[in-house]
Symmetry: C2
């Protein structure tokens, strides 16, 4: 009954087999695309055979769904929390949002990659739920951007938000070649400049 909820609190400390699978799958999905990796691949990555996966997940799609749902939830929760803690200054709010997104992208390049590439290979209802969360996260940004650009309408600020996401989420494409701090500072500066342009 609480089975579905068990999925929600990730045990980062001592990763259960379930968590190992989820992590390995995220890595593989990011590298080759969700449809291109087989259940056997995921199993092999954690040292078991393919069908063993079904002791932990109902299906391969369920794995992907849970993965994407978690990401979207973490982004939404983190984003709203940061804004709430940032006081009333719109620029300060923007800066924490940018820092948050940059950190997230640098910490979880695989998740970021899967997030906006494999949404399409989700069942209709799962996809809808993910999109709802995404939309709410975007709205957090739109609200902040709205105070920085009072003259712009919501649609424009939505496009602005997506553009900033694209900028920050470019990390996986150019990752590893630069020290993390340098990359983080660069992306934050660029994102802020773009968002306030």
């Amino acid at each position: 009954m609480t089975d579905a909820n068990t999925a929600l609190h990730a045990d980062a400390a001592r990763p259960s087999r379930r968590e190992q699978i989820l992590r390995a799958a995220a890595q593989l999905f990011a590298e080759r695309g969700a449809r291109a990796v087989g259940v056997d691949d995921v199993g092999a990555a954690v040292g078991v055979t393919g069908p063993a996966i079904y002791r932990h997940f109902a299906s391969k799609d369920a794995m992907l769904a849970e993965m994407l749902l978690r990401i979207s939830e973490r982004l939404l929760e983190g984003g709203t929390a940061r804004v709430a803690a940032a006081g009333d200054d719109p620029l300060a709010q923007l800066r924490t949002l940018v820092a948050f997104q940059v950190d997230f992208a640098l910490d979880n390049p695989a998740l970021i990659t899967v997030h906006d590439r494999d949404l399409g290979s989700l069942a209709a209802d799962d996809a809808a739920q993910v999109r709802r969360l995404q939309r709410r996260y975007v709205e957090v940004w739109v609200e902040v951007l709205g105070r920085l650009h009072p003259e712009a309408d919501a649609a424009t600020n939505r496009a602005r938000a997506h553009a900033v996401f694209g900028l920050v989420n470019s990390t996986p494409h150019s990752a590893g070649r630069l020290p993390r701090r340098t990359t983080a500072a660069l992306l934050a500066a660029m994102a802020e400049a773009a968002a306030t342009a």
Copy 2:
């Protein structure tokens, strides 16, 4: 003998069956992901059955390969041409590059989407060739950015270029909701601000 070359000069005027297929495939690939669309789907989109495709392409992978190669070539050629025609001012060069990329992304959202999502589902040698072209295009940007940021090293400017690509290529995610001119102006302003930050 000149059969392979025929592929190179796109007949935009009266689209041959080959071109129709390529266009329809690009659209479908962008919507669902290359691996998720079947040969039958592509065929149906142009009014023929699945196997008819093989009268025009050696395989489904060959379709994708030609698609990605063309995009990369167009970007590289267009980018170098624009820079060459822009004179010596680095800022002017950046502006034409930005305008070029924005126009391309707005004109070919499907190609942009496929371009950086389905590269992974290409045969090793095709992928390598595409990556070579991509790298050369990035270097065009890096050179221009290098003159705008003389203090930064090449790796930093590479990351900068990727970030700008991510920003501009966000169009497919927020497309349609805004008039094209507005979107173009917004993206260009944001991209320039980010690139010069």
